[in-house]
Amino acid sequence: MLHIKDVNKSFGKHHVLKDINFHVEQGEVVAIIGPSGSGKSTALRCLNGLEVHDSGTITLDGEVLTHDNAMVLQDIRMKMGMVFQNFHLFPHMTVLENITFSPIYVKNIDKEQATQQALELLARVGLSDKAQAYPSQLSGGQKQRVAIARALAMEPEVLLFDEPTSALDPEMVNEVLQVMQELAEQGMTMIVVTHEMGFAKEVANRIVFMADGEIVEVAAAKKLIEQPQTKRAQAFLANVLK
């Protein structure tokens, strides 16, 4: 359902994504791993148009991502939720308002229905009691769970995660990973850039290993972690797993 074909991206002279080819099926969980600076975030950000790719095509459900048509771009973004490393909750809104804002103002769902749905989502991420809290009153792990609920409220077809646990204190990592694992089990299509090899191995179906702007190796999750085929993946894993 998500197809990425020959995508290239440069920042000035720096060629950051080199002929990226890749597809994700419905219900699949794909983890993207690789060394720092390999282009993982950039790849993810191109998918929902936060970065403009220079060439190639990105297609979601047959709809081609373009920056020339604001309606198409907006439509694709609505179908692709994104969870950021640093949460980016809206600090001037309560947790509930954070979640209901886009359903109400972007999707034109009526307020009561949006609130109802938000409360259900909050229950799902274990934060029912925080509906009226402001982001500044939450711990990192709670913020990230709200951010996940906020993305889910748009009922996206794919959820993109960019290192969702990297900014968290160690004791809060698990509560977020657990929510993500439940989502995966419920059939959510997810693309997760992560340094959590355990999570990638257990929860992802496939792993994409990137280095220097290229996809170096793609394989079933366990296989890529336990028996990487390429030298670069072997070196990377030997380094992070030791």
Partner: protein, 227 residues
Amino acid sequence: MNYGFVTEYWPMYLSGAGVTLLLALFTVLFGFAFGILFAFAKLSKRKWLSLLASAYIEIVRGTPLLVQMLIVFYMLPTFGVNIPNLFGIAKFGDYTLVVIALVINSSAYIAEIIRGGIQAVDKGQTEAGLALGMSQSLLMRKIILPQAIKNILPALGNEFIVIIKESAIVSVVGIVDIMFAAQQIRTATYLPFEPLIVAAVIYFVMTFTLSKIMNYVEGRMKQDATH
């Protein structure tokens, strides 16, 4: 030192203070309105518009207010801009001309305040909004501006104080503000500097009071922001 003259001349100071405050108030209001326009013009993705706004802001900030005011005050009328005495106010035309000059000046500074306030909002807010499918205008109105306003308001209050002080320059074209009143009183009383010291005290009381009010409002806003 002899300050006895104050008992006789205080009404002139009072009306001068009224003129100064009104000029500053209108300047801030219109300066804010145009400042918003210029700020958004400068932030625009349209290169020509952004360049035009930048040029305007740089030129205004790079030339003295006195020069700007004299140009406006003497040039507009010779180009056929004649403002009648509306609302039964004598010298309404002159007041309008100096307000135009002050607005031209302050809108450039206010534009920079607003642009700075908007750009100080974390870029992640924009990304999160866009990722949720928001349009640029919805994002600006409901996500960015409500946060930017916390950066903008204090600086705007500061600008108001600056305008009160800088507006003393309108006395050179015969607007009867605090400064002009002080000059008239000097002539009438033959006192060389006492009337000026009184003027300074009035300016200071006005700006000091305003800055205290600003601090109070700012404190309240911070309280609101931390919930």
